[in-house]
Symmetry: C2
Subunit: 342 residues, 2 copies
């Protein structure tokens, strides 16, 4: 929690996280000033999502590995880690648990719920599952469901993890090992899809790591070095069973599926106001996919603002502090604040 809940508890903003993030959305830890929240550029006192005016709540989703109950937690029935026995969870499950948390906190209705990517899917699902409990949905770099190509990349990542001999059918905790090889490959595949082709070209291009080619299978190009480093870091702290479940939650999300594929019907219950944002170079969840959401909302004559931000950074743009993007979020929250905060 960041900022103070006002008297009528009308200034709460829920931040839903994406694949590898957590409740730690802003600020740094007192004992570790390098450990900065994943959306710290957006959230804080005087920032676009201003904690002087809003009470911002970060959560850890069920099945995660940053404090919430997950596959590495102890299964009370066996007194061993859940491992493969931890259930598959869906976006809808997460939203349900978030609503229970709101009950505990006495928050009847969120002023806004915000998220990017998989986090945005949760914000979107809130508007369908609990329409009366959300004032504004800020849906960033989202898609109404994964495309075949999106699923395909997730499946590569899963196959890499599942076929790692250290995976032990999901019960690796008991063997004192971790499927880090699979996690590395999974992270590398994911990472490529988060960046735009252009961004990679301008950041790395064909730059050599050591000035000349070595004609070996070690690192030759800067891009290889970067990806290996990212993969190494990620495989050191992330839980493979969590990764598997989160990619599955992404695959499953498809609110239109229960309505014969009609997203407009699926979004009929939604009463929230919407801010939908996409980024021009995001090829994972392209602007076209955001426009599907906007169209479905307009079909229902909902209050929706849509912005397509020209940004070079691909899907990861939602995490960066592009000035146009942040000014938009700031203006939108200022408008909400002027209405709800006393």
């Amino acid at each position: 929690m960041y900022g103070a809940l006002n008297a009528d508890k009308s200034n709460a903003v829920l931040v839903c996280h994406a694949l590898n993030a957590s409740h730690h959305v802003a600020g740094y830890y007192a004992d570790d000033r390098q450990n900065i929240g994943w959306w710290d550029n957006l959230i804080g006192p005087g920032k676009p999502l201003d904690t002087n005016r809003f009470c911002v709540i970060g959560v850890n989703n069920l099945g995660g590995c940053f404090g919430s109950t997950g596959p590495s937690s102890i299964n009370p029935a066996t007194r061993k880690p859940w491992g493969a026995d931890f259930p598959v969870v869906t976006v809808e499950d997460w939203v349900t648990t978030q609503a229970r948390l709101a009950d505990q906190l006495g928050i009847q209705r969120f002023a806004a719920i915000i998220g990017g990517s998989l986090g945005a899917m949760q914000a979107l699902s809130w508007t369908i599952q609990f329409p009366e409990r959300i004032g504004h949905a800020i849906v960033i770099a989202c898609a109404p469901n994964l495309s075949a190509q999106n699923i395909a990349f997730n499946e590569v990542a899963r196959l890499a993890i599942i076929t790692d001999p250290d995976f032990h059918a999901g019960h690796y905790y008991e063997h004192g090992v971790r499927p880090t090889r699979g996690l590395r490959v999974a992270r590398m595949v994911g990472h490529i899809t988060y960046l735009s082709d252009d961004e990679m070209a301008s950041k790395f291009g064909r730059q050599l790591r050591y000035g000349k080619l070595g004609y070996t299978f070690g690192v030759e190009f800067e891009i290889e070095s970067y990806l290996r480093h990212q993969a190494e870091k990620f495989s050191g702290y992330f839980d493979a069973n969590t990764y598997l479940r989160i990619t599955k939650a992404l695959d499953y999300f498809d609110p239109a599926a229960d309505h014969g594929g009609n997203l407009s019907l699926a979004l009929e219950p939604a009463t929230a106001s919407f801010l939908v944002i996409s980024f021009t170079t995001d090829w994972r969840f392209s602007p076209e996919r955001s426009r599907e959401i906007v169209k479905a909302l307009l079909d229902n004559r909902r209050d929706v603002a849509y912005a397509e931000i020209e940004a070079p950074h691909g899907h990861d743009a939602f995490l960066l502090d592009d000035p146009r993007y942040h000014r938009l979020i700031a203006a939108y929250f200022a408008r909400i604040a002027n209405r709800v905060v006393t």
Copy 2:
């Protein structure tokens, strides 16, 4: 060899293969009629590359696993398979070996050299390495070098193979195993980049394999089933050490590198006539990359025809029999035939 070499040996056409293809470019084997050449739709009597008029030569590149000397061949010094000790090979090396083959066959000059993707890189390199020995270069779905994103995907594939415990640092032959897990992942990553997003969407979309979700880590969507099947098949016949080397040859190819990144300078020696073809939905080697080649040729006032074919199939389009594409190739070869064949 398909078709007959004419008296002055002026009707020879060399076909360079891409990643997982071979010398078997057309026709089927007498004892296995299902085993059809990889470019059989393009090459044969009366086909766009007409073997009634041209003598078509298919090769296996050095380092391959379909008959040429490669990592699984016996190293005479150790009497064991080369394995990791087999050298890294480059596009330029392959072109040099192909020129030696031409020497053996008494072919001084190819009427044309044709290839798609990595095969096209060889055709392009021919025009620089042996400009006087090639009349026409048909360069399809090519790029003048790999982008950072291209290299990144190759690196994922390599990491999957190299970290497979059955890889044994490249000496798996001696252990009686094969790094099939890594090969599967490598093939899946590759396959995704060969197809367009749209093609995957229209072919598979979000279709379920078994009619409903199982909430398991088995196959749920048709796209998963398709990719797993392709990966399984590929990992059963392809050699991992060859895969590693071929992806490296792709990474290294960059004729402009020796000219300060100036492709126009690199192509200055080329005297061949060029047909350059790209496909609109190819995001691996996009039309923009082919246009770089065309621009560099025009800078040198070379004879170049360029076609951007509107096709939904992504990079794989070069292997398919799109009528506009094949009509173009047929017309181009008819023009060559009218000049060279007696």
